[in-house]
Amino acid sequence: MAKIEDYISSGILELYVYGALSETESREVTKMLKEYPEVEKEVEEIEDALQKLATGLAPYNPEALLASLKSKLKPHPAVKVITPQSSYRTKWVTYIGWAASIVLLIGMFFLFQQNSALRQSLSEAETKNSIIEQQIADIREDAENAKQILATLRDHNISRIPLKGQNAAPDAYATVYWNDNDNTTYIDALGLPEPPRGMVYQVWSLTMQPLTPTSIGLLDGFDEEETKIFTLPNANKSEAFGITLEPEGGSKSPTMEQLYVLGTVAAP
């Protein structure tokens, strides 16, 4: 299946193994991996290669390390108590000695238990902490992006041009936010379907009489841009904007049968 091959060669699986994807993206990859054995095999091979690379970095003395770790894992077997040979001491000294040792042992046991319980909850909290830290960082980044978009759209030099779906895609829509002060357009392409592989959306500025389309750029990396907002320069005296579907790299002039959305700039 060609689609799966494309998926594999897109490079998303490497990012998945690194842990560089968002939680949602990761979950999606996990689903793919459960569904397609070839995806799972690929992930295993990537993981194997990365493990080998990391292993190559480790200072080499695994035996010493394993021994040291094992000694921490398992409590040492109880020390065998050697009964002292009967001596000249009177019995009551022995009894007191034993009693004291037992009291001490019980005390130590309690301390040990308390200590390990504390250690355990501390390390649980630490792990939780680091997971939460990661999530906060992700959320902060999303918020930062959203703030930027909001600030841009609030600029009073911006005019908003809604583009309506055309014959090629009646349900599609898009919005152009045009700042003719700094000659920038922001294309909100959330209402466009994901372009098929090998195709890309191209944005056109149009002037009427005579009808002249001028390309202002491509919506590259459509599937990766989560906000679906693209920034393109536009120094034209645009009277309308249109978006067409073109082969990768774009075209010199728009393919009118593939005109997805179109909208005119309101007269000032």
């Binding site: 897109s10 560089a20 996990t30 194997d48 695994p62 894992l73 649980e124 990661q134």
Partner: protein, 176 residues
């Protein structure tokens, strides 16, 4: 799957399963930690902490969120970063700048028997500078795709495809 069963056993608190997990992952985890910390004894300490965490928090691993290896990788990176931020580390190692993986591999002479040392050194030799940066940020430093794109001033999609090419080369060399 054998691996899945092993993780289930680990989550139940089976010590044999833990030992197996240790055998499977300790060396690579040690490598990750060492690449961040750059100091053998401290890296060893952190490795032990990391495996204690794996033992104690095994239940919090959720396979739908990602690979077990990735989970360990996250714990290891976070523990190492916490360590180098800690006061005791800063006091002790003020001037210590951890090398990146390329420097470490280049200067190494002793390798574990489980890996192809010559292959790895060869890999480093032919590795493009951009690959060195990508792998360092994404794998060893735990950057997200977006953070990497910003740091290297590269479009998001390019990070993905370039990195794939870098890893393909690695697989060619160290693969079976």
């Amino acid at each position: 799957m054998q691996q899945d069963a092993l993780i289930v056993e680990l989550q139940k608190g089976n010590q044999k399963a833990f030992e197996r997990i240790y055998q499977l992952y300790s060396e690579s985890t040690y490598g990750i930690i060492f690449s961040i910390i750059g100091e053998k004894d401290i890296a060893e300490e952190v490795l032990q902490d990391v495996f204690m965490k794996i033992w104690e928090n095994a239940k919090s691993y959720d396979s739908s969120k990602g690979r077990f290896f990735t989970w360990i990788l996250n714990i290891a990176r976070n523990a190492s970063i916490d360590k180098i931020r800690s006061k005791s580390f800063k006091n002790k190692k003020q001037n210590l700048a951890a090398d990146n993986f390329v420097d470490i591999l280049e200067s190494k002479t002793n390798f574990s028997a489980t890996i192809d040392a010559i292959g790895l050194k060869k890999y480093i030799e032919v590795l493009k500078p951009v690959c060195k940066k990508l792998i360092d940020l994404l794998f060893f430093k735990g950057y997200t795709q977006k953070e990497t794109a910003d740091e290297l001033e590269m479009p998001l999609g390019t990070v993905k495809t370039r990195n794939r090419a870098c890893i393909n080369k690695l697989r060619e060399i160290v693969g079976n």
